[in-house]
């Protein structure tokens, strides 16, 4: 079968591989060829794992030949963000402080995708320690947007988004703390889901902000997102914040449709009021068009206010750095990672190692977080931010009394040029629509819908209450179909 005839979605690949119609090896080679073609420009990966992937594909083909059903991701190449631990394989968080560090264990999510039969094709680039919205903060060079290499892919999971957009793999895993899956998905024109907090185990995800981080899928289709989510979701006893209850599979709900569903456009994120600035008109227009598409499919569309969402950015940029400043304290040059030699004492060594190993954005956030927690400021900053979180949750709860899902743009703008947002605060404004879901712990998905300025893809965000992923898939499937029709 030629590369052109091979199935391209995860669902189709797995079905074909399990049926013995297609070999995992062939599928892999086709994707490695795509990598060879353009990766030197795109730089989606910190490390391509061609040998390991070939070995894994060979094992899968052997198991198929022996009559086994390998699983829902059989033979599907997958790229993994380089902040998830992969046993014996470098896991760097795109930071010099962890350059070359090889964990002695796999993250739970990595174990699960392997058990489902996927083939890990490489570790993807990210903003250092997941801090950023453009992947420009990587210590190993930026990733380019495959649609236009002068533009950023978004961040922090820019490498994973680019890998899927560029066709290097049908699937990728990313992590989302303030929008780091959804925003790059929007900028690269792919689907990106941030699950309910606690739905996917954080064990093995190198922590940025513990109460906000979640692992989630990047794909080209909603069906693939549902499939990958169903694989990685579930309770893990190694993660105390992991939800104890069983997570309902979402694949069976892909065709539920939206008849009678109540959909609310979030007023504060639709270009009005305090946050109007920065929302490109085309982005807003496509969001309304998405709402119209849902209405045409039978949904009841309205507008709803989530007033406290305007405080989300401030709350996030106190809570996330605070937790990060503590999570990143362990990088001290004692047990692993980069150490600067020659210091007279341990304190000196720690200081020198961290100073040499961390990039400027990481330092900025660590200092911000340290300050927000420090004596005298704790209540005014961190303490208040945690209360604002409650306000946001309460506002969402009120909104969900009248609506089943909410709608907004994912990112205020489409992909932007490198270096165009070098003022940290202006970069942070990219997350204004995605942050509230992280603070509330709610799931949210970005689905490509139409194009904006310069024909660049626009991402529309669908939000739901806790554990509503199945409903999000149903809504996204309708949007995907409508988007496909519009494009055709």
């Amino acid at each position: 079968m030629s590369a052109a005839e091979l199935p391209t979605t995860a669902v189709d690949i797995a079905a074909a591989v399990n049926a013995g119609e297609v070999s995992a090896a062939d599928v892999l080679e086709a994707h490695l060829a795509a990598v060879d073609a353009t990766e030197s420009e795109v730089h989606a990966f910190n490390e391509v794992l061609a040998d390991e992937a070939r070995a894994a594909a060979a094992v899968i083909d052997q198991r198929i030949a022996a009559g086994e059903n390998v699983g829902p991701l059989a033979g599907v190449p997958i790229a993994v963000k380089d902040n998830m631990c992969t046993r014996g394989i470098a896991t760097t968080c795109s930071s010099k402080i962890l350059e070359g560090w090889k964990p002695p264990y796999d993250a739970t999510a990595v174990e699960k995708i392997a058990a489902a039969g996927s083939v890990m094709i490489g570790k993807t680039n990210l903003d250092e320690f997941a801090m950023g919205s453009s992947t420009e903060n990587s210590a190993f060079g930026a990733t380019k947007n495959p649609l236009d290499t002068n533009l950023v892919p978004g961040g922090s999971s820019g490498g994973s988004a680019a890998a899927v957009a560029a066709g290097y793999a049908p699937l990728a895993l990313g992590s989302d703390t303030g929008g780091s899956i959804r925003q790059p998905a929007a900028l690269c024109g792919v689907v990106g889901l941030k699950p309910t907090y606690g739905a996917v185990s954080r064990y093995g995800l190198i922590a940025f902000a513990s109460s906000l981080d979640q692992i989630g899928p990047f794909t080209k289709t909603v069906a693939d997102t549902a499939t990958l989510f169903d694989v990685i979701a579930g309770h893990d006893r190694r993660d105390s914040t992991s939800l104890p209850q069983a997570i309902e599979p979402t694949v069976p709900h892909l065709d539920d449709g939206v008849a009678g569903l109540r959909v609310g456009l979030i007023t504060e994120l639709m270009g009005v009021g305090e946050m109007a600035e920065g929302f490109e008109p085309e982005v807003l227009a496509q969001t309304r068009a998405a709402a119209d598409a849902l209405a045409a499919a039978g949904a009841e569309v309205g507008e709803v206010s989530v007033p406290s969402s305007i405080y989300g950015l401030s709350a996030y940029y106190l809570i996330a750095p605070a937790e990060a400043s503590s999570n990143l304290a362990r990088y001290d040059g004692v047990r692993y990672g980069h150490r600067e030699h020659g210091a007279a004492n341990t304190a000196g060594m720690m200081k020198a190692s961290r100073t040499a190993g961390f990039g400027p954005e990481v330092k900025r956030r660590v200092m911000l977080g340290t300050y927000a927690l420090s004596a005298g400021y704790h209540d005014a900053f961190y303490g208040k931010a945690q209360r604002v979180r409650t306000l946001i949750i309460n506002d969402f709860d009120r909104a969900y009394q009248d609506y089943d899902v909410l709608l907004s743009p994912t990112s205020p703008c489409v992909a932007f040029p490198f270096g165009s947002k070098d003022d940290p605060l202006s970069m942070y404004l990219n997350d204004v629509a995605t942050i509230p879901s992280n603070l509330a712990g709610h799931p949210a998905i970005s689905v490509p819908f139409g194009t904006g300025r310069d024909d660049l893809p626009v991402g529309v965000q669908v939000l739901g209450p806790l554990l509503s992923e199945a409903r999000l898939m149903a809504v996204s499937a309708v949007l995907e179909a409508a988007n496909g029709e519009a494009a055709a």
Partner: protein
């Protein structure tokens, strides 16, 4: 030393309920300069007797090769997460209840600071919402020391300094072992209610006994499973000020604790009396030098930036669980002492017997009719904490002695046999052992019979014994005693013989 007076500190109404003012309890007289009193608070860290660590499933075990009891979680490897050891929570609740604490919904907090023995460069502890609050310990003297809190936390690793002379200031490098990192700890903090070194030792000793009795900790200073720091300040006798205090660390035994407190309190007094004042600082007890030394001066006070650990969820023990644990509490040392005191033991005696863990033995002996005083004396003078005896057998032995069947020398010999017999599993009854050793358990009535017979057979000598002058009586006493010893082959108890002779006169 001053009498204990009402301590004027802000107290909540619940604390008042829990707190007795012991104005009539005798307090110790310390050697502190006239006009001053000590204000001491004690911080005890106890390692919990669990199989695994607080947040990781690595083994909790003292000793062993360096870094042999480690796991990615307690090494703080990137991506790892803590999970609470349920057994550690159970033991912590148990200890809290034994200290009369209120057990409440609690939260783990991160204490952030950098040090190489800290794998995450933060310690998971408890801050605003600890598990146990507002408890107390009643000392043998009757004085009550309030316990402010007893909270859960994880232990740190150990760093060893290697240098030319082994002294920290000449160290060439340090080596770090994480075996101890993550071991579950209870930090038990008292109010500054203690007023002297003996009281401090009594408090720590009582707490240690409670920890051991409840099987919460091994309580071994020498293995580090129990550690004490003292917070020491002084004030004019009878005042209610709280002046600058110093924390004294590196106290490795009860004796050191007493010495360190005496030294440090006097150091404070000397400073005040020479017009100076102590600095608020952490000091180290130097056992060899018999003094405290200043710790490394810090440029800025540590700011631990406590916040609730987002990787963990609150522990909210249900009332049912708490009652279940309360029901499983053993009899505590104080009640055990009270039991012996009710049998006539003096408080110090009771304390000693309980400390040796021999109170059950003594109580059991008393229950089968043994004389309490005798049983207690044996426990104090002739038995050690490791001796295992059957209480009924012990009681029987005591009765043999008090009944006159054995002399006290003989009884001690039988006791020694019983102890070693219980060790090698050849436990025999005291009567059997006495027989084996040739100490016929001589029946008193048998002896009386022999004596009466002799009296009947020697009427003239008896007449002289009863009615003769002192010299005569003395001679006849010797005569009869000799005859009795001959008749009993030396097995009669001399004291009892005299008693019987006197009673027949």
């Amino acid at each position: 030393m001053t009498d204990a007076t009402e301590i004027e500190q802000p107290v909540s109404s619940t604390m008042l309920d829990a707190w007795r003012i012991e104005s009539d309890v005798e307090r110790e007289e310390t050697s502190l300069s006239e006009g001053w009193e000590m204000v001491i608070g004690l911080e005890v860290h106890a390692e919990l007797a669990t199989e695994t660590k607080m947040f990781s499933p690595a083994r909790n075990h003292f000793g062993g090769e360096p870094n042999s009891n480690v796991h990615p979680v307690c090494l703080g490897l990137p991506g790892t997460l803590p999970v609470v050891n349920g057994k550690a929570v159970e033991l912590s609740i148990r200890l809290g209840l034994a200290l009369n604490c209120t057990v409440q919904r609690c939260v783990f907090a991160r204490k952030n600071y950098f040090y190489p023995d800290m794998p995450k460069d933060y310690q998971i502890s408890q801050y605003d919402r600890p598990l146990n609050i507002s408890g107390w310990i009643d000392l043998p003297s009757g004085y009550r020391v309030r316990v402010e809190r007893a909270h859960m936390e994880e232990d740190t690793g150990k760093s060893t300094h290697i240098g030319e002379s082994g002294r920290i200031h000449d160290a060439g490098y340090s080596l770090v072992d994480y075996n101890r990192a993550g071991v579950p700890l209870l930090e038990i903090v008292s109010h500054p209610d203690v007023r002297g070194p003996e009281e401090a030792k009594a408090y720590v000793s009582e707490l240690q006994q409670i920890l051991i009795a409840t099987a919460v900790s091994d309580g071994k200073f020498e293995e580090g499973s129990m550690r004490v720091d003292a917070n020491i300040s002084v004030r004019p006798a009878g005042s209610d000020e709280l002046r600058t205090r110093c924390e004294v660390k590196n106290v490795n035994s009860l004796r050191s604790l007493g010495r360190a407190i005496s030294y440090e309190a006097q150091r404070h007094v000397d400073l005040y009396e020479s017009g100076e004042r102590p600095m608020q600082e952490t000091r180290h007890w130097d056992e060899e030098g018999g003094r405290t030394r200043a710790g490394r001066s810090k440029e800025q006070a540590e700011d631990y930036r406590y916040f609730a650990d987002p990787d963990l969820v609150p522990v909210d023990p249900s009332p049912e669980w708490i009652e279940e644990i309360r029901a499983s509490l053993p009899v505590l040392p104080r009640e055990r002492r009270a039991g012996l005191i009710s049998h006539g033991a003096a408080p110090e005696q009771a304390a000693l017997v309980v400390e040796k863990g021999l109170d059950e033995l003594v109580s059991g002996a008393i229950e089968v009719g043994a004389d309490a005083t005798k049983a207690i004396n044996y426990a104090i003078n002739n038995l050690s904490a490791e001796d295992q005896l059957d209480a009924a057998a012990f009681g029987a032995l005591v009765k043999l002695e008090t009944g006159g069947d054995l002399t006290s020398t003989q009884a001690k010999a039988v006791l020694a046999e019983m102890v070693s017999g219980s060790v090698d599993g050849t436990a025999k009854s005291p009567a059997e052992i006495a027989a084996d050793m040739g100490f016929e358990a001589m029946d008193t009535s048998e002896l009386e019979g022999i004596i009466d017979q002799l009296i009947a057979d020697s009427p003239e000598q008896w007449e002289r014994f009863v009615n003769g002058d002192d010299k005569d009586r003395g001679k006849m006493q010797g005569f009869f005693t000799g005859q009795i010893m001959k008749a009993t082959k030396g097995q009669a108890d001399g004291r009892i013989v005299n008693q019987i002779l006197s009673s027949r006169r």
